[in-house]
């Protein structure tokens, strides 16, 4: 297990380096420069001084090397715009983003998995039909629109929840953005669970279990659920990464102080260190979650071994 973890951690290094390199190259070729956008000055001498101060007078490969050396010491650099260390900027936003993503994921799992499970137990029935309509709608609805509808309904019409903001970070502020973000994975989980359960229900080992006289409850609990979980877990892992990207829209809509909105603003303002830092954190989180999922495979299904 430990050697597996160590190997997987080593494998993340080239991925991280590739991402950092890609972002570096992209921001070297896209039009628009921080220097010209920050200064209205026409004096090339002043622009040159500023470039030097920001390290932008160096060739890309030198800057890349410097950045990698900084990263090795845990330094993500200093924001061109705010003059704050990028780690500080990200640290301020990490917790709200995690809150939002975990809440959305919890909503998606708690609603989506049972929904798919119940639908699969009575395929073609009324529950199945309703569940699949909900699932297809959930996958199709734009988050921005859904968020506005939820705001309108739960804030403006019913007055149960605030329509925007972080407040004290409490549940009442979290519910609407989390539900908005969680609807799409919820729908996916429902469909995946349904498909997985339907497939497993017809598997040989399930038929064998039934023929041995095992009760349907035990069959479902011991054979169907456990086997379906591996498939569901894979989907959950992949969705975590997706949610980090999708959170941008929700954060902006609900004025939620997460990394997504930091990333968007940094891109628009050509704040390269902040962009790199934000992307790096998202990538690292994605890799960490997938590693965790890999470990969980073995816990759920002992047949999976870490060779």
């Amino acid at each position: 297990m430990l050697s597996f973890l160590f190997r997987r951690l080593l494998q993340t290094i080239p991925t991280v380096l590739a991402v950092v390199l890609l972002v570096f190259v992209l921001f070297s070729v896209v039009p628009g420069s921080i220097v010209t956008s920050m200064s209205d000055d026409s004096d090339p001498q002043v622009e040159l001084r500023m470039k030097k101060q920001l390290g932008l007078d160096q060739p890309v490969y030198v800057r890349f090397g410097t950045y990698i050396a900084q990263l090795a010491t845990g330094d993500f650099g200093t924001s061109f715009r705010t003059r704050e260390p990028v780690t500080v900027m990200i640290a301020k936003r990490a917790w709200p983003t995690l809150q939002l993503i975990f809440a959305a994921m919890a909503f998606a799992i708690v609603v989506g998995v049972p929904l798919g499970f119940i639908a699969a137990l009575r395929p073609g029935g009324i529950v199945d039909t309703i569940a699949m309509v909900v699932a297809v709608s959930g996958l199709s609805i734009a988050k921005f629109w859904l968020g506005l509808v939820l705001m309108y309904l739960f804030a403006l019409k019913l007055g149960w929840l605030p329509s925007f903001g972080y407040g004290d970070g409490g549940l009442k502020y979290l519910l609407l953005p989390a539900a908005t973000l969680g609807v799409s994975p919820m729908a996916l989980f429902a469909r995946t669970t349904r498909a997985a359960v339907l497939e497993i229900m017809t598997a040989d080992f399930v038929r064998t279990a039934r023929s041995k006289g095992m009760s349907e409850t035990r069959v479902v609990k011991w054979h169907v659920m456990r086997n379906a979980l591996v498939i569901i877990l894979t989907t959950v892992g992949l969705q975590f990464g997706g949610l980090m990207g999708q959170a941008v829209v929700v954060e902006k809509l609900f004025s939620w102080p997460g990394i997504g909105s930091l990333l968007v603003d940094s891109v628009l303002q050509r704040d390269i260190p902040a962009v790199q830092g934000s992307i790096l954190v998202v990538v690292l989180a994605f890799l960490a979650i997938n590693l965790l999922i890999d470990v969980l495979y073995g816990v759920i299904d002992p047949r999976i071994r870490y060779a």
């Binding site: 209205d40 921005f144 329509s163 004025s255």
Partner: protein
């Protein structure tokens, strides 16, 4: 006076302001403003950012030498009590307030002013306020690293400074924005300042939740007696107009900037119509034409474009009336705006005739660089293209990001572009953007060059008599109309919805969201106690 007239035209806004004046301001409560121009504030170091978004909170936290007075339509002294002018209009001796205290309890002195201006001129940091401070003699040398201190700034005593300018201008226009805020010299240099800024404004910093809000509370030692009225200000970052709309209707926020679609919706809603305030801001939207592109070198072609476009139709239908038709460069709120001047009429026949005279009877083709902006970007260009096509001019669209467009206009790498540019509040500075000595990257984006225009603007700059100056500026503005270096599209009509319990809103033509918050107050019907 001009501002009052505009306010009367705006009508609803003045009704609100008028009713506010008639009541006694209430002490206490929370003002809940919104920052609508993005999903976060750039920085808590206001010297580093020129975004309108950031100045919304900065107006509560910081103060500059001058402040914008919306009622008078001009900058007035704020941190100074007196300005004695000498040296042929170049030397200003400011008597500073001796009752201004920073939020750490320390009294402001001349050292803080000098320290702040020297900081802004640090050329390695490219503070955007440098373009204003540069008017002080010796400031440019500091920026270039040739001097340590601005030679034109002298401390006479703790509360007196002498400022020598490089040209005869009204320093009020240069030192009223938050970009030139006065920082406490000792604290401003510390790393911690970015996390917990200290200013001289009516509210002190409490909390910043990046991407969500800034919270400020009343500063009891603010120098204006009895002010501020409110206990607290919360500025919520709300870049999405639809979300602001729900929050405003739900009474969760006190102000909301309206876009064209919402402007129409609010006007047609009896419950919301009365919340609208509007003002002509000092921004001119236009299509700039590059004179190095042969057809645009001919004045008749540029005029033809102005005749060929049904500007009123675009403003009414596409911009939903949320703009004022531009006649020439200076906006409605400029003191030198000439009310008698009429905009180019929609006259395709005249356009065709001018094109024929210029040798382009069969038209020509050009590339038009634009952003996606809904009020002065792609939707407008798309509407104009068929109108130009009607007179034989073909336009190819080149779409770029707004940040890239800003570079394009400065570098001259375009045949034509559509843009929104500050055309005030100082009419002289606005017209100087067309002076041949003004470099293209500074603001002469169309590289306009006209000896007669230069002469008039120079004369205006030297004129001591304000009436004479205005007359000359009107003349220069009229010359621009005639030369048509741009298609004069519109002046921005800023529209904001204000809850009925929020009083004292000022019709600030420089930016409606920038309020002198010490004058705002909420009555007892506000849901935020």
């Amino acid at each position: 006076m001009m501002f009052r007239m505009i306010a009367i035209v705006a009508g609803l806004g003045l009704a609100l302001a008028g009713s506010a004046e008639a009541q006694t301001p209430r002490k206490g409560g929370t003002i809940r403003m919104t920052a609508p121009y993005g999903s976060s504030f750039t920085s808590l170091d206001i010297h580093t950012t020129q975004r309108a978004q950031d100045e919304i909170y900065a107006k509560a936290l910081h103060r500059s030498l001058y402040i914008w007075n919306s009622a008078e339509g001009k900058p007035v002294l704020e941190l100074a009590k007196e300005d004695v002018v000498s040296g042929g209009g170049l030397v200003h001796t400011f008597k500073l307030r001796d009752d201004a205290y920073f939020h750490n309890g320390r009294q402001m002195t001349a050292d803080d002013v000098i320290w702040s201006y020297n900081r802004i001129m640090d050329g390695t940091k490219a503070y955007p306020g440098a373009r204003f401070v540069r008017v002080i003699e010796g400031a440019a040398a500091v920026e270039k690293g040739q001097a340590k201190d601005i030679s034109g700034l002298k401390k006479i005593d703790d509360f007196t400074i002498e400022m020598k300018l490089t040209e005869k201008v009204d320093p009020g226009f240069y030192f009223f924005t938050a970009l030139t805020s006065i920082y406490p010299a000792d604290e401003g240099a510390k790393e911690s300042f970015i996390q917990k800024p200290i200013g001289l404004g009516p509210f002190k910093f409490v909390e910043h939740v990046p991407g969500s809000r800034i919270v400020l509370e009343r500063w009891d030692r603010f120098y204006k007696p009895g002010k501020p009225y409110a206990d607290k200000i919360v500025v919520a970052v709300m870049g999405e107009a639809a979300a602001r709309d729900v929050a405003f209707r739900n009474k969760e926020i006190d102000t909301s900037v309206l876009g064209p679609a919402q402007y129409v919706a609010y006007q047609s809603d009896a419950a919301l119509k009365g919340t609208i305030v509007e003002v002509a801001e000092v921004f001119t939207r236009y299509m700039g034409m590059n004179p190095t592109f042969k057809p645009f070198a001919d004045k008749r072609v540029r005029q033809a474009i102005n005749y060929a476009i049904d500007t009123d139709l675009i403003i009414n239908k596409l911009v939903k009336g949320k703009a004022y038709r531009a006649t020439s460069w200076l906006p409605l709120t400029a003191p030198a705006y000439d009310k008698a001047m009429k905009p180019y009429p929609y006259d395709p026949a005249k356009a065709k005739q001018l094109l024929t005279e210029a040798g382009y009877a069969s038209g020509f083709e050009f590339e038009w660089t634009t952003s996606q902006n809904e009020s002065w970007g792609l939707p407008i260009v798309s509407a104009v293209i068929p109108m130009l096509d009607k007179v034989g001019i073909k336009a190819k669209v080149k779409q770029v990001e707004t940040a890239v467009l800003a570079e394009v206009v400065r570098s001259g790498d375009y045949q034509a572009f559509i843009y929104s540019q500050a055309s005030g509040p100082d009419p002289l500075a606005a017209l100087k953007c067309f002076h041949s000595s003004t470099p293209q990257p500074a603001c002469n984006y169309t590289t306009f060059k006209n000896a007669e225009f230069d002469k008039i603007v120079d004369e205006a700059g030297q004129a001591d008599d304000p009436a004479k100056r205005i007359q000359l500026l009107q003349k220069a503005n009229a010359l621009l109309y005639e030369e048509a270096p741009v298609w004069f599209f519109n002046y921005n009509k800023a529209v904001m919805a204000v809850q009925p319990w929020l009083k004292g809103i000022q019709l600030n033509a420089t930016e409606l969201t920038h309020q002198n918050v010490e004058d705002l107050w909420v009555d007892e019907t506000s849901p935020a106690k």
